[in-house]
Amino acid sequence: MSNKVFASVALAVALALASVTQLIPNDYFFTAAYTVLLFVILATAWNILGGYTGYVNFGSAAFFAIGAYTTVFFYNAFKAPLAVGIVAGTLVAGLAGLGLGYLTLRLRGVFFAIASLALAVVLFIFVVNWDYVGGARGAYVLQPREVPFGLPRYIHLIYAVQLVMAAIALVVARAIEHSTLGRGLAAIRDDELAAECSGVPTLRLKIFSTMVSCALMGMAGTTFPYYLSYIEPSSAFSLSYAVNSIAMPLIGGMMSWMGPLIGAVLLGSVQQLVQVTVSSAWNLLIVGVLLVLFVTLAPNGIMGWVDAWRRRKGR
């Protein structure tokens, strides 16, 4: 399936799902679905650098927050509509990724991981001290009273936007996976030294992959202030985003674009369910335990099981 065909299919599915908004009468579905979609984007984005290239990014929350706070900034400065915030947030996050990559990708992968964590802390402090976007007190982003496209409530709009963004992320991931770039990234993941020796421009590819990954993470965050009407640093930079964006591709399978999607939908839905049924301290415990179990026992995730099962059937 060529990229263009896939993109059209993805977009069509997204729009079809979005029109479901007219049918479901309760808003709970949309609030829960929004969160799951958020993780779909984060997991897919993380996997571009993590699964495809083999570099772990612990700072997913930082880029997510960059997207969110850029939206806030544009809202405060220009009363800009959501669309502007989305574009701006994605770009700024991408630039930040470029900066991080340029600084640290010449080193071993593990330094990149630590640097990404350090970046998250520095950015957090910076945002906390930046009063224009609310600083520690938080910023309010008021949802507009009239909802465009004649949708009943604002949550329906954000949900639809998130669906489209998830489709975009999946299209991008798949396009990279099936391209020469993707093969280069796979070579880096398998053996960077050998790749370098074979003439793969590792640094350039890594930086590009980082940039795309971080930009998409930022994109995931751009609608977040509108979802909550309120954003403050501790929750925007929550480590749960970092953990989930690693756990979900790991559980789903890191080799293809379908893995993060499966992982995010599964794990995200479980977490939403647990939140409204059992005490939520168990929520995190579930994520942690699943992460450890999968990483030790099923390193290729669910997609790995599917592949193994297919192979066995084939025999």
Partner: protein, 418 residues
């Protein structure tokens, strides 16, 4: 003819019984109140305490026959003190669990994200200790039970500055310090305004990150500016750190304290013990005023019994009385308007004064308390680290507001640490 009459009578009888049963059936339908509450996360200690208070209220109300004859039931979920969970929780409560009423969780973090939902559905929203949330939304059905007054940032430290300017001679300089977080930022903002109004010169005005390990450099830097008054706005861990650092460094100033969250709870009162002596801080309940708040002592003994069992703040002086009062306001409004019409409820709450366990409660136009009633107190006479001494009067002097004053400020701080 007689046969017809008797048949009619029997039919009417049956009709009456039918209606009565139907009425009773309707009345049996429980009154479901939904909310999110911080049962995990940084504010869980308070959230759990508030939940206990609300459950005591529910049990008290049901023992008296419920509200409008209906049994009160709670439907609640853990919001993890995280804003991100709030939209899902409240949409589930309203659209799936179909609760009759909602109230908020604890703190701005979980109140603000719920506001759009309340506003979209025109619901009356009782909230628990949010900081000036309504200034952005201007929602006329928002009500706040924290006694900070219509301008929370100002009302919060009013008592502190009144006491400060009551010193003789009047102080000229002040240092402001607090954590990089939501409440302290608001408290400091208010303090800055007070400083401007009273003509105090701000010689130090800095914040520290919440995970600071060592507070001594901060206190030393403050001492180096020689302030006559030191105003601190902090959360429990840094409150503990600042108090210890002040003792370690031997902070010399005329008045120290103001907005420390933490010493209101048993955990910090017992940990810090005598280190608290001399500090001026806000409290919401003081045993010395026990007689002024009838029924509150009763409530507190019920609360304290449960809290000890559940490992929550054993004193309950901070949030629990107000959580109970919030539910009392709601109950009285529902009973008075004889129903759940949200518009009528909001109107009634705006127009009336309520008798609650924390005294008379009235609301301003923006939903905050009509007048601030944050009590500014000074600690003294604390010896050792046991908790029982705090349940009895004699450890706190109430400096402000006037109607509750029990004594005068003893300055300077460093000479009154006993």
């Amino acid at each position: 003819m007689l046969v017809v009459l008797s048949t009619l009578r029997r039919m009417l009888g049956a009709l009456f019984i039918g209606l009565a049963l139907a009425g009773a059936a309707l009345a049996q339908q429980p009154l479901k109140i939904g909310f999110g509450m911080s049962l995990t996360g940084p504010l869980a200690g308070n959230g759990k305490a508030a939940l206990i208070a609300m459950e005591i209220w529910r049990d008290d109300v049901n023992a008296k026959g419920g509200i409008l004859g209906r049994r009160v039931e709670f439907v609640y979920y853990d919001d993890q003190t995280s804003p991100a969970t709030v939209p899902s929780i409240y949409t589930k409560l309203l659209d799936v669990d179909k609760v009759d009423l909602v109230v908020s969780g604890y703190g701005t973090n979980v109140i603000a994200p719920a506001m759009p939902i309340m506003m979209q559905r025109n619901l009356t929203f009782m909230t628990l200790f949010g900081l000036n949330v309504n200034s952005k939304f201007n929602y006329d059905r928002y009500f706040q039970i924290m006694p900070a007054g219509p301008r929370p940032a100002i009302g919060w430290s009013q008592g502190f500055f009144d006491a400060a300017m009551g010193m003789n001679p009047k102080p000229k300089t002040i240092a402001l310090v607090g954590a990089d977080a939501e409440y302290p930022a608001m408290a400091l903002e208010g303090a800055r305004e007070h400083a401007k109004k009273t003509g105090l010169k701000i010689v130090y005005d800095k914040t520290y990150p919440p995970n600071t390990v060592d507070y001594s450099p901060i206190v030393r830097a403050i001492q180096a500016t020689n302030p006559e008054v030191v105003f601190v706005a902090s959360y429990p861990p840094d409150s503990a750190g600042m108090v210890r650092a002040a003792n370690e460094v031997g902070l010399k100033t005329r008045m120290f304290g103001g907005g420390l969250v933490g010493p209101q709870f048993a955990a910090l009162k017992t940990q810090l013990g005598p280190l608290l002596n001399g500090i001026v801080n806000y409290e919401f309940y003081v045993p010395d005023l026990g007689g002024r708040f009838p029924f509150l002592e009763q409530f507190l003994s019920k609360y304290q019994a449960r809290a000890a069992k559940e490992g929550v703040d054993p004193l309950g002086f901070y949030l629990p009385p107000y959580a109970y009062a919030m539910m009392q306001v709601l109950e009285q409004a529902i009973t008075a308007t004889k129903g759940l019409d949200q518009a009528k409820l909001a109107e009634y709450i705006h127009k009336n004064t309520f008798d609650t366990y924390v005294g008379k409660v009235a609301f301003a136009k923006n939903g905050e308390w009509a007048a601030p009633r944050v009590m500014m107190t000074q600690y003294h006479g604390i010896t050792g680290n046991d908790v029982e001494q705090f349940k009895k009067p004699g450890r706190l002097t109430v400096l402000s507001p006037k109607e509750y004053k029990t004594g005068d400020l003893k300055a300077p701080y460093h000479e009154n640490k006993k």
